[in-house]
Amino acid sequence: MGSEIKNVDLAVSIGPLRLKNPVMTASGTFGYAKEFEPYLNLHKLGAVVVKGISLEPRPGNPPPRIIETPCGMLNAIGLENVGVERFITEKMKLLTGISVPVVVNILGDTVAEYQEIAERLADVDDIAAIEVNISCPNVKKGGVAFGTLPELATAVTNAVKKHSRVPVIVKLSPNVTDISLIARAVEDGGADAVSLINTLIGMAIDHKSRKPVLANVIGGLSGPAIKPVALRMVYQVAQSVSVPVIGIGGIESAEDVLEFMLAGATAVQIGTANFVNPRAAEETVEGLAEYVYENKLGSLREMIGALVLS
């Protein structure tokens, strides 16, 4: 890459959080970031988001947990993770000094649990932001996902925000009738930004055995297959809230990022594409730099919400 291209302005702000470029990695698709060190320069990325952390360790679902579907995949990992204590003592240690902002994704069964994780993380240095996964079922409310009811979404956001020292991003579930409604609810709860979409709930069946393919029966759909849905939702949400929107869903190239920015995203996350091309995130940053250079943009920010409707 020529030095002119290197010097283009790709920086964006997620509320108070400044990123050198808009390319982040999506939770659950980038491990704890260290796994990718052999393949790319982590410090070239805007930020990394680590695997979702719960209060207690979770073993996750039985196998099979993943199956490929046309242009995508279904997963029912079951939020396997080491729990917040081991995350802090083991994983976070590995992450200090990796010279890229680290966003910690959290999840819980109850509002109190989300709050407790936020409290534990508030004492930890080197966390750039917290991303709250509200696609999880609320065990106290009969298993309905936090992200599907506005008042629950507001409550979780509020609880985390009150106990965090860093910006709070709330990650929205697409499995709702009106995602703008939930986006506004988390904005009311104090979210500094929203990210979307999480996986779309889907299912695969093996007609020969007459069984569901995933042990969990249903799973989350991700990858290029969900990109049109994600773009539509980002577009709708960007018009409904004033906080920055982070676009997620089927992104694997700079072109995809540009589309999400046109729809109103300030930044993006790359998920499933990391599995196919472990260098996807870095190559996407390079592609964006080339685009800004070749099109003589003052900064990449000019693309945000610049959709031409005629």
């Binding site: 659950g28 796994e35 393949y39 993943i66 997963n75 599995f275 196919v276």
Partner: protein, 262 residues
């Protein structure tokens, strides 16, 4: 440290039978560091469908430069791979995972079923090269002689005698690999290395357990990434919970796994 090679040159593509294909890739970076039991993740097409890479064991390396994968055509991805041409490039990630643990002080027994024979050839070569004791016992099985014969040939070229078994009796013993194994004298200091269908690996594990012989198995699971990022590739373990086949395996000590005896 594993390598990511967007362009690994296909120097040879051979059909060993109508649905078993061997691809030789020119990739010194991978060939130099690969260990028996490790695998690579291969992109089978250029587009978004099939999306994910497919895992294949490294079945042989040569001259610090080439490595081979040996696969059976079972679906879209393997079918696309089978239609590649010599001179084309494949995107390959590897070598991945932790392979067979070899200790030359004991004796060795290799047990393979069907396409699970693939990683055992690399292991047989390694054992022949670094361990000076008795040559390993080799027991290989498949459904038919047509399927088994091409898989056995490379072992014979190493000078190893192979005990064969086929489901239809067209080559070697008429029946299962486990029957052949039961009839063989396994030394108390032997290690058994197994790769094949789940029921076969379970049977071998139970036999080894009864005889108090070490047993290493190479597990197949659904993998999305092959490098520890997706957490999809789990196998249940004896102590509770799961192990991840792509980085804690794919080769495991059979005793560590939780075998659901059905």
């Amino acid at each position: 440290m594993s390598q990511f090679q967007k362009k690994s040159y296909i120097s040879r593509l051979e059909y060993l039978s109508p649905d078993i294909v061997r691809i030789t890739l020119d990739s010194p970076e991978i060939a130099r560091i690969a260990q028996p039991g490790q695998f690579v993740m291969v992109k089978t097409g250029n587009g978004k469908d099939p999306l994910l890479r497919r895992p294949f064991s490294i079945s042989q390396v040569s001259n610090d430069r080439y490595f081979q994968i040996l696969f059976k055509v079972v679906g879209r991805g393997t079918s696309l791979l089978a239609h590649c041409r010599e001179g084309e490039n494949l995107s390959v990630l590897g070598p991945l995972g932790s392979g067979f643990q070899v200790d030359c002080t004991g004796s060795h027994c290799l047990v393979g079923g069907g396409i699970g024979i693939a990683p055992l050839l690399f292991l047989a070569k390694q054992l022949s090269r670094i361990c000076t004791g008795n040559p390993p016992l080799v027991v290989l099985g498949a459904r038919t002689g047509e399927e088994l014969e091409p898989l056995i040939n490379d072992f014979k070229e190493l000078g190893l005698s192979v005990h064969a078994a086929t489901d239809d009796g067209s080559l070697g013993h008429h029946g299962f690999v486990i029957d052949v194994l039961k009839g063989l004298q396994l030394a108390a200091d032997a290690t058994t290395y197994v790769c094949g269908p789940h029921p076969m690996m379970l049977a071998v594990h139970l036999l080894c357990k009864a005889k108090n012989i070490a047993c290493q198995v190479s597990m197949e699971t659904h993998m999305a990434c092959g490098m520890g990022a997706c957490l999809g590739c789990i196998v249940p373990v004896e102590k509770g919970g799961y192990a991840h086949a792509c980085f804690e395996g794919p080769v495991f000590d059979a005793e560590e796994l939780l075998w659901e005896v059905k």
